[in-house]
Structure formats: structure tokens, C-alpha cells
Symmetry: C2
């Protein structure tokens, strides 16, 4: 398979696939969620199960044409928390492939997802958020982590971020992904213990722990993404300024990058939680309908399509 280099090719890839993924949507009554879901239905790669806010959703006339692909589950309780719990149960029963947040508080959804007995995160698995961005300034898609859920990754959590993003790159046809471990400089320093840890992660990658992948760092955002800057600074990196993945040192750096590219760079983004038994699409308030749609497409890749 050729590697998928933009969101349009990603959607084409999903359309070419026969498989329809079953998306469990929690309280999906808001306009942007419904628009995103409807587009996934029309592109032909989705079935949808709405949990919660079903009366409001059923009033939307444009959904009628997809009636065969839509299920409304009878809620076991009246609150949004019940709707979240029901949707999580659908995944646990093997009746849904992707979980998506609609008009419900993130905390409420995450509580259901992270419930130790009845949630979606297997014991010992690392939960982290992965974003995929299409930027007009780059000629390929860019993965990065973590902008949303993991504050200050430990070494093992960072290893999981490498593992998850490597797998996602492979699923997108990137044979040997280039992963950059981000820092404000290219020097390893005791003042920044995570940069010391980067060396060990590079060794593990080279030893084949995550399959075919090149991991390098510390590198900054520019030396990760721009060969010219790399050469000007006289730095040699096997990534050659063409990173597919940026692993940020902490959530503050990841989030600053995320908010900057969406506000100032005209970027389109998709995002999901990894580590759970199925991809969880967890948009933030203010994400556009198209961001939410691309997140569903990205989640489909997370399902192995």
C-alpha cells in the first residue's frame, strides 16, 4: 500500500474498504457531531449507534436516508453518565468499534472509559492522545502526542507513545516512520531528565522493539521538520528534517503546538485516545465538524482498516 499523505487520501482509503465500522456516539446531539457522523455515513465507512439525546437526534431529517445504518439504544438511565456507560458497554460487548464523544462533559465520558471494572482501558495499558494534522506547509501528514490527557509522561508512557504512533503510521502505509523526541534544544541535559531518557528509547527502537521505525532526539520542532534548519545548525539526524511523528516532552508543549497550528497555520486535525480497547474520539469544544469527521476517519485507521 502507498502511504496516505493527506486527509482526502485517508477517506478514499476507507471508502475503498468494504468494512463498515460501528461508531457508538455518546450524547451526539450537537450540530458539529451530527454533521461529522452524517459525513461518515455518506462516505460509506460507518454505522452509528446513538446513546443518549436520542429524541433530539431523531428530529434531524437529513439522517432519515441512513436509517438502515443507525441504531438508537434505549438508555438504562436518564443522565449523560448513563449514556456514556451504555456506550462503553456496547464496545465491551463487541457491538461497537469506535467510541465518540458528543455534547457531554469530557470528565463524564472519561469516567466511564476509565472505570476499572467496566471501562475500556486494560490493566497496565497507557492511555494517551494522538493527533494527526494536515498542514498546508507540509507535504505529508504529521502525527503528534500528547496534547490532551497525559501531563508529564514517564519513560514507559513515552515508550507507549512511540509504540502507538508507530503502529498507526504502519497502518497508514508509512513503512518506516520517523519519530522525533522533542526538546527545546538538540543537547541532552541533566537539567531535563527526559532528554537523558531519549537515548534509551532510541536504543530500544534500534533494537526493533516497535518494528520498523527510526526514533531520534532530542530535536526541536524546526530541526524535526525542516532539513534546512537542521543543516544550518550543523546537526546530523537520521530523520533528516522529515519527521512523521513528534513526541512532545509534556502536555504544555504538545498543547501549545496543537493550538498554534489550528489557530495560525490553517491546519486540519484529527485526534483520538489510544491504549483503550477501541479508539476513542474525544473532540474538544470548538473543534469543527470537519475535525470531528477526520477524527472518525483516523479512528477507523486505529481499528486496523
Amino acid at each position: 500500500m502507498n502511504s496516505i499523505q493527506n486527509f482526502s487520501a485517508l477517506v478514499d482509503h476507507l471508502k475503498a474498504n468494504e468494512k463498515k465500522l460501528r461508531i457508538a456516539v455518546v450524547c451526539g446531539s450537537d450540530e458539529s457531531t451530527l454533521t461529522a457522523v452524517e459525513r461518515a455515513l455518506s462516505e460509506g465507512f460507518a454505522e452509528v449507534i446513538f446513546s443518549g439525546h436520542t429524541e433530539r437526534i431523531q428530529q434531524r431529517e437529513s439522517l432519515a436516508q441512513y436509517a438502515d445504518l443507525i441504531t438508537y439504544v434505549v438508555p438504562t438511565g436518564e443522565t449523560d453518565a448513563d449514556a456514556a456507560k451504555d456506550a462503553v458497554q456496547l464496545v465491551r460487548n463487541g457491538e461497537a468499534d469506535i467510541l465518540m464523544k458528543g455534547l457531554v462533559n469530557t470528565d463524564v465520558l472519561l469516567r466511564a472509559v476509565l472505570n476499572k471494572e467496566e471501562g475500556l482501558l486494560p490493566r497496565g495499558k497507557v492511555l494517551t492522545h494522538v493527533t494527526l494534522a494536515q498542514l498546508p506547509q507540509l507535504d505529508h501528514l504529521l502525527f503528534f502526542t500528547d496534547v490532551a490527557v497525559m501531563p508529564y509522561p514517564t519513560q514507559e508512557q513515552r515508550a507507549a507513545q512511540i509504540e502507538y504512533t508507530t503502529n498507526l503510521c504502519h497502518a497508514m502505509g508509512i513503512e518506516c516512520p520517523k519519530i522525533s523526541l522533542i526538546h527545546c534544544s538538540e543537547k541532552v541535559s541533566d537539567k531535563f531528565p527526559h532528554t537523558v531518557g531519549y537515548a534509551e528509547l532510541k536504543e530500544r527502537a534500534a533494537a526493533g522493539e516497535w518494528g520498523k521505525v527510526i526514533v531520534d532526539g532530542p530535536l526541536d520542532v524546526r530541526t524535526s521538520l525542516d532539513a534546512e534548519t537542521l543543516h544550518t545548525k550543523g546537526i546530523v539526524s537520521p530523520l533528516e528534517g522529515k519527521a512523521d511523528v513528534l513526541v512532545f516532552p509534556d502536555i504544555e508543549a504538545g498543547n501549545a503546538f496543537y493550538k498554534t497550528i489550528t489557530l495560525l497555520c490553517g491546519g486540519d486535525v484529527a485526534g483520538m485516545l489510544c491504549g483503550t480497547v477501541c479508539p476513542v474520539v474525544l473532540p474538544s469544544r470548538g473543534d469543527s465538524a470537519s475535525d470531528k469527521f477526520y477524527s472518525l476517519a483516523f479512528a477507523a485507521i486505529g481499528c486496523g482498516v
Copy 2:
């Protein structure tokens, strides 16, 4: 005075001023430093003292027309460290107003600047880096700190960042600067102790500690700079999405922002160290000649012009 809203207006402001600032340049033999210095000379707001690499610099024919404005100091030693030390001494003697790094290792220059007996940082003063950016996506100049020298600011270091940037904004004619304390979310959280500290900084600002200024946070990069995002998220902030200053929680976040806007947003930037007895222009390898020139213009503002 009207506030200065772009780099061109900043240069006009300096040209309108009678005063020439004396710039001590350490090992300024590289092309981009010389181009920047030459432009400062031609715009009429600078005199220059070259310390180190003087033979190489004197070969540059285009400098001849500014001979009256240029001094070459006889070095007291043969190394770049000597040149740095000599330049620092010029500032200490009151013979230079701005210190600028040329083709010399940052560590070498910083060692001279931070020397306890013969350096430029008064006891108890906080050293931090402030950047000024002109972005095509914004209709005003944007200050931010710290992308370069302070890893994880303490509360008092962050207070100094607010103080320095407030003073710089006032010097640029921004009567009541809007300062945003950045975080990945708008919620104060014990998991992120700096967000708890933000409340106290807001109180101190409101009590008038730094003069006329509005400080708010935690806010993310988008809610700091975009009123629409702020409203979509239902957040009320006195900054109204129009921050003049972003104070980043740590160097990783600040640096990620800096590298992203310069690589992807087509931004022009200027930067200097604050807290020292005079502004120190400390470009990184790979900064363009125009970035270095704007840094000199920014440093002139730091001198109170």
C-alpha cells in the same frame, strides 16, 4: 504615543528618535550579524563597537561608509571568551548600551554575562528571554517568554517575566498590556502547580504591582489569541482573546511555540535577554539577518528609546 503594531513602525519610531545606541558586538564576523548591524547603522539608530574577529570584519567594504560610527576594540586576549569579556566590560563602563552575540558559542557569551563579579546580571535579578513576533495572522505584535534560557520558572521568576514584558509593552506605547498565563486548559489544577500560582499573580497585577496591566490565566494559546474560540468554549476573560503577551509555563512549551511560528507561520521575530543591566541580543544559529536586525530594534526599546 500610539502603540507600535509592527516591525516597520518600530523602526520608524527609532529613526524618529535622535539618540544613537551603542551596540557592543561579540565576534560579529558572520554574514547575518554584519547585515543586521549594517542595517541598524543605515537606519540611523546605532553606533557599533566590534569586540573580537575585527580583522575579518574590517575587510567588509560596505562598512566603510559608516566608519565614523564604528569602533574596533583592541582585544585583551586571543580567544572568543576574551572578546566576550571585553564587550561586557564596555557595558559595565557605560560605554555600550546593548550587547549582541555574533559568531560565538552561546555558552561562552553567557559565561561572561553571568560572571558574578564582572558580569551583567545584578544580584537577585531574574534572567529571562523575551521574544517579539510579527505574524501575518495577527494584527498586532506578540510578546512571549521564555523560549530560550529559563527551564521551569518559579513563581518569582514568572513574576519577573510579567514585570519585564509589562515594561516593554509600556515602552512600545501599549498603555494597558494584556498578559496571558498559558496552560493546556483553562482550569486551575493541583496536578499543575503553576496554574495554582497564576491566581496569586493575577491578584498582584490587579493590586498594581506592575503598573497598568491586565493579567489572566490559565488560558491556552487559542483562547489567549482568538475571541471566537473563547466564546465557543464559553469562557470569560478580560483579555478577550487579544493577548499582547504569552507567558509560557515552561521552556518546552515556549520553544515549541517559537519554532512553530517561525517555521510554519511565516513570522518575523526579535528576541533579547532581560534582567541584565542592558539588553542582550542572543540570536540562535539559523536566525536570519532580518530577525537579528529586529532584535537590535527590540533591544533599543529595552533601553528605553
